[in-house]
């Protein structure tokens, strides 16, 4: 019987294995200790590794990441948790001006084995200050690696790679995915950064979908298939490094691309991915890359408004159908 884990369990297991492997790894954050994290991701780690290595911190996002950097440049791989991604706003200097730059501006004298884990808690009714998916900011910061897994298998393989990596990694989890279980082998494995996963093959349109949008895109692809349209679904898995080769190869085949993310549309990573596709595959494109993303407005607490803000399956399907409607080349 193949074993199934949730993303929360998979990240937990990945961290656990790496902390067993490397006694230098230290985990820090708010409520990560005995409590096991507000979403349960660090459950049991305090019991196994003790309070020295699994450290509950005061509400000090800036200092938490700052301390983790201090550990990292001392040769101790550090995992810092920011409880909700929205709170990374308090740790921006540490991440952007320190973690991403110190190796460079010290001329390579230090390694920066730092993982900052943070959950995006969108679509749960938490409102404007607890729902943001801010990956676009970090994709714009040279020196950072940015990871956004969409399932348990990837989450485990990628968190292990992140912990072993000597560079700073921002590891963005999605709370709405925590519960979904997928198969995770017992045997150890890692997943390299910079390799997109083709989740489904198809000839008609390429859907590039990030994190929680990847499973949604697969559902949309099912729906499209019933209409005779075969979508290829690609999950980039890491935004930095970004595997454009896989994406471009697909678009060269399909001639059409839809980028889907949870974050607000304007200035989101969809723009970057779309533009890179356009730069590299312009002659193959039947029409402009279409973006499916959140409305550009703060997230309201009201369920009605929240629902209207975020992209849904219908929006993805319609984006894929828009090529036909616009009659750009027609759908094969």
């Amino acid at each position: 019987m193949p074993r199934e884990l949730s993303i929360a369990q998979a990240v937990n297991e990945g961290i656990r294995e790496e902390m067993r492997r490397d006694p230098n790894v230290v985990l820090m954050g708010e409520d990560v200790g005995e409590y096991g994290g507000v979403f349960g991701v660090t459950r049991g780690l305090h019991a196994e590794f003790g309070g020295e290595r699994v450290r509950d911190c005061p509400l000090n996002e800036a200092a938490i990441v700052g301390f983790a950097i201090g550990l990292a440049i001392s040769g101790k791989p550090a995992i810092a948790e920011i409880e909700f991604m929205d709170f990374v706003t308090f740790a921006m200097d540490a991440l952007v001006n320190q973690a991403a730059k110190l190796r460079y501006c010290y001329g390579g004298q230090v390694d920066m084995p730092l993982v900052v884990r943070t959950p995006v808690a969108a679509q749960l009714g938490f409102g404007s200050q607890h729902s943001q998916s801010l990956e676009a900011w970090f994709m714009h910061v040279p020196g950072l690696k940015v990871v956004m897994p969409s399932n348990a298998y990837d989450a485990k393989g990628l968190i292990k790679t992140a912990i072993r990596d000597r560079d700073p990694v921002l590891f963005i989890e999605n709370v709405s995915l925590y519960g979904t279980k997928t198969e995770v082998p017992e045997d150890e494995y890692t997943i390299p950064f910079g390799q997109a996963a083709v989740r489904r093959e198809g000839d008609d349109v390429t859907i590039i979908a990030l994190s929680s949008m990847a499973p949604l895109a697969l559902k949309a692809a099912d729906e499209l298939a019933r209409q005779g349209i075969h979508a290829e679904v690609i999950d980039p898995r890491t935004l930095a490094p970004l595997d454009m080769d896989t994406i471009v190869a697909s678009v060269e085949k399909t001639g059409r691309a839809v980028v889907v993310h949870l974050a607000h549309k304007t200035g989101g990573v969809g723009a970057e991915i779309a533009q890179q596709i356009t730069e590299r595959a312009f002659d193959y494109l039947d029409g402009p890359v279409v973006r499916v993303a959140s409305v550009d407005a703060p997230v309201a607490a009201s369920g009605t408004l929240e629902k209207a803000l975020y992209p849904d399956q219908r929006a993805i399907v319609e984006a894929c159908l828009s090529f036909r409607r616009a009659d750009v080349g027609g759908v094969r």
């Binding site: 409520d31 509950d56 509400l59 308090f90 009714g125 938490f126 409102g127 200050q129 409305v295 607490a301």
Partner: protein, 319 residues
């Protein structure tokens, strides 16, 4: 400044209102009538009520996501409050803010905030505005023991002291930040000690004793009105329920829960008012029943209110 009988009765009434509002908030959340988080102020009622009793018109207050108590103490309407929790069009923030952003600026309640600590410098700016206007008004900022660790708290202390602002910082030390006990988060036994590093008064009081809260607040407010600058009041209290209606901490249940229930500020104050001859047992019961009925009405109003129309998605973003 002794309180009139009527003022004391109002305080008791507000405490009950908060208590039943929070029970309704938890119940409605449990029934799935709204999602997201709600952070009950149960067992902490005496703090907001006691502090607000020391204020006068033109004074302002700001609070955290655990801010329903401050909202009601400042005179917030329970109906529009519960409607806000439920994300309804009739909510005090049109359903856009929800539980963590409850606010009624018209009452001087300048807002609850879901980012721990973020409202502390904002409160500093509100106090600065009062000072610039040459009023003798003050601003109160409520926040938790956890929040007292955030850098912005200290930055605000320094600026408020430098500029001698009429700012009352009320740290509600309920011993926990989600799961983290204050002893693992704050390196000094009393958070009020922090004020020493900034050279302004810091006091620790029992936050479940509404009279003590009122006395400390009055003292701080008077000083601030007279240009004496900021005060840090640490109200030691307990968090009776879980951190929020959706996340459970490992405390407050079982025998511990019983211990905490014994420190419930409401029966204590009720007994005090009876022993002072201000209320009879019968009147006390009536006040509770009235509060309960008011909240029942409010809940009905909230449940029956319409959801916002989709137009609201992008309104209120820009002026």
């Amino acid at each position: 400044m002794t309180l009139t009988n009527q003022q004391q009765i109002t305080m008791l009434r507000k405490m009950w209102l908060i208590r039943y509002f929070e029970e309704a908030a938890i119940r409605l959340n449990g029934e799935g009538l709204y999602r997201g988080s709600t952070h009950p102020y149960i067992a902490q009622e005496a703090t907001a009520v006691g502090v607000v009793a020391a204020l006068k018109p033109g004074d302002k207050a700001l609070a955290t996501y655990r801010g329903h108590g401050a909202y009601l103490a400042m005179g917030g309407d329970p109906s529009r409050g519960l409607a806000e929790l439920l994300g309804k069009e009739t909510g005090v923030c049109k359903g856009k803010g929800g539980s963590m952003h409850l606010s009624d600026v018209s009452l001087g309640f300048m807002g609850s905030n879901a980012i721990v600590g973020a409202h502390i410098p904002i409160a500093g700016g509100v106090a600065l505005s009062q000072q610039l206007d040459g009023t003798d008004n003050v601003t109160v900022c409520f926040f938790g023991d956890g929040a007292s660790c955030e850098g912005v708290f200290y930055e605000t202390c320094n600026m408020a002291a430098l500029w001698n602002l009429p700012l009352i910082l009320v740290v509600e030390n309920n011993e926990f930040a989600i799961s983290t006990h204050v002893s693992k988060a704050v390196c000094v036994p009393d958070i009020s000690i922090r004020a020493q590093g900034f050279g302004f008064p810091g006091v620790t009081i029992d936050g479940r004793e509404v009279d003590a809260v009122y006395a400390a607040a009055t003292d701080a407010v008077q000083r601030a009105r007279q240009g004496g600058g900021p005060t840090l009041i640490e109200a030691k209290t307990v968090r009776w329920t879980r951190h929020s209606a959706v996340s459970a901490g490992g405390y407050g249940s079982g025998s511990d829960g019983e211990k905490w229930r014994q420190t419930d500020p409401i029966p204590r104050y009720q007994a005090a008012l009876v022993s002072r001859g201000i209320l009879t047992d019968v009147e006390v019961t009536a006040i509770e029943a009235e509060a309960r009925a008011a909240i029942d009405d409010a809940a009905r109003f909230a449940v029956n209110s319409p959801a916002p129309s989709l137009d609201a998605l992008t309104t209120d973003m820009f002026a």
